[in-house]
């Protein structure tokens, strides 16, 4: 079954690693929805969050292949786990004297911030999951969007442990996951 998967990887901070990771997705003809890379609490290690839509068995196959990349220290598919997912977007929207206050109201509802004001435009900073940003984007569209920049999703699992900080877990080979029934899919948390 095709669904969105969120993979998080701990990788060595070296040139070429992103290429190796991306190359394995390309080989299977996956289109990466978003990819976010940043430093971690450990020196020389970076964390990648990759969101990709695809058949679960195929994604699991790519995950195993990625786990074999020498510079990938660990990679986990956290789609089925309790996670906090966030994305940041900067949206530059047209604003005139007559529309500005209406935009500000919408921004407040979404607990977003206005980070730049010009005579004919505003830059709005918003964080949240993908649906929240999509919703805000759709509401602002009527005012005229000049530009939008999105970071792509980053994610952590809830609770004190994380998929990438667990000590050596017993090596259990996961069979391709069975698809969830549609009613089991949870609604966005905002």
């Amino acid at each position: 079954m095709t669904m969105k998967h969120t993979l998080v990887a701990l990788v060595e901070d070296k040139p070429g690693v992103l290429n190796r990771v991306a190359s394995l997705f390309r080989r299977r003809n996956f289109n990466i929805d978003t990819i976010a890379v940043g430093h971690t609490e450990q020196p020389n290690l970076s964390r990648m969050t990759i969101v990709v839509e695809g058949d679960s068995a195929k994604v699991e196959q790519v995950r195993k292949q990625l786990d074999k990349v020498i510079e990938v220290v660990k990679i986990v598919d956290i789609t089925d786990q309790e996670i906090v997912e966030r994305e940041l977007a900067l949206i530059k929207v047209k604003a005139t004297a007559s529309t500005r206050s209406e935009i500000i109201q919408i921004v407040d509802i979404f607990r977003a911030n206005i980070v730049d004001v010009a005579s004919d435009s505003l830059i709005i900073e918003v964080t949240g999951d993908e649906d929240k940003i999509d919703s805000l984007f759709n509401l602002l569209r009527g005012f005229g969007i000049r530009e939008i920049a999105r970071t792509g999703c980053i994610a952590l699992t809830r609770g004190s442990t994380g998929p990438l900080i667990v000590e050596e877990e017993p090596k259990v080979i996961k069979q391709p996951r069975r698809p969830l029934p549609p009613e089991a899919e949870t609604a966005p948390d905002w």
């Binding site: 070429g16 290429n19 292949q65 020498i70 510079e71 990938v72 660990k74 090596k171 080979i173």
Partner: protein, 563 residues
Amino acid sequence: MTKTGAQILCESLVMEGTEVIFGFPGGAILPFYDALLQYPQLRHILVRHEQGAAHAADGYARATGKVGVCVATSGPGAANLVTGIANACLDSSPIIAITGQVARPFIGKDAFQEVDITGITVPITKHNYLVLEAAQMAKTVKGAFFIAQTGRPGPILIDIPRDVLQESAEFVYPDKVDLPGYKLTLQGHSAQIKRAAELINTARNPVIIAGRGVIISKAYTELKELAEKAQIPVITTLLGISCFPETHVLSLGMLGMHGMAYANMAVTNADLVIAIGMRFDDRATGKVSAFAPQARIIQIDIDPAEIGKNVRVDVPIVGDVKNVISALNKQITPGEHIDWLRQIEQWRQEHPSTEIRDCDELLPQYVVRQIWEVTKGDATIVTGVGQNQMWSAQHFIYTKPNSFISSGGLGTMGFELPGAIGVKVGRPEETVWCIAGDGGFQMTIQELATVVQENVAIKIAIINNGYLGMVRQWQELFYGRRYVATPLLGPDFVKIAEAYGIAGLRVKNKREVIPAIERAMEYSGPFLIDFMVEPEENVFPMVPPGATLAEVIERPKPQKVNP
């Protein structure tokens, strides 16, 4: 001690026990060649094309179990290695390819003979490196050798800019590697092994399918013990050939597209498949959804990414095949499976897949069988790809471990000659027969010069049918006998051999076969025989592409009536 990058590279190769390097020099790699003069313990074998260097290193690695090393210069030299590296990657062969690169200030400027070889080889190497300072050289080579030969072996490429080879640095060879992301699972999970043993102990119709993993892991005795103790027949994949003696009563030979009909029947009717170090290639499984439809599947592999990749698996065991089988052997109870073995024997009698038909024509199968007869099976066979490869797999009876060396996964025509050179260099005392087709042989024929220059005493049998035989067979069977681009005008191979300084013979009749092979065996140096075989002979049995293993075509085509 301060040394240049090139010297550090040589020192590191010596530290890793390298004895032979297959290579071809050029501008960017010249500092390495210059340093090589100070290291006479590193034997350099000059090939005539870099693809040959990679295949020879691959053949050497397969024959010895050690890492094969090949060297090329930047640009075209590096690019020419690509086919050989991919070949080693698909067949899990540990080679290290060292390439020169343009000097650091020129990288990324489309300099003369610059190519992004690390970028090119990302998908076909186990890992690759660009060394950007001489101080990193020793650490890199150490890591490369470690990765190449541990776990599932594979090719590593090390790209070195010319000025890094010339730069000086302190040489200290590290005693351990620092690879936080490199995971090895060598021991099987005990609970899974227990489950596997239970399945084996209760199976009624079990089969073992053994692949190249058994050879890589040198698990010959463990496999034999498993098969004999539980009385389970052993089928091999193409690359698993020679992991189990084919004269053994439990041996069923090869499965798959050109496998033994009875082996395919056994898999199709099995209630348990024990897959050991094999990866369910489509040439082995046939239509994958109908593969072993009644069987539970135990898969043992060192590479977790192979588990469940192509077929559903009931009991996956990740680990080194040797460790896993020996752990498994402690938990299995002696079995008998008399009815099952009797059934298989009946299939074997009813469907004799390796019978060579009795006729006056010179049949390629007959040639292969006579090589076996004359050598008494005491030879390593290196093949090309296509019909010659399948006949070599079917009609030579392999009893010595790791005595069949062939390009399986990538199916690289042109592997035979340079591959055989590497094998012979790795096993100088052994008889090495290169069984080639007239098509593939012409792809790397230039390496005959390497054979002569290095006096590599291989015996070459060209199965010359004047066609790209396997493609022609497909055209005959599936494309209405329209032979497009498969009739092949070859040169006079005996004269070619003579021109290079190699002794040779042409064989046109059946009765000349044995004397010619005997002559080749008696001759001390390299020897070539051009066997002019029946042009339109086909490889059978055959499972048509996309068909299930049960849908095997067994019968050779009817005799041709001469016009």
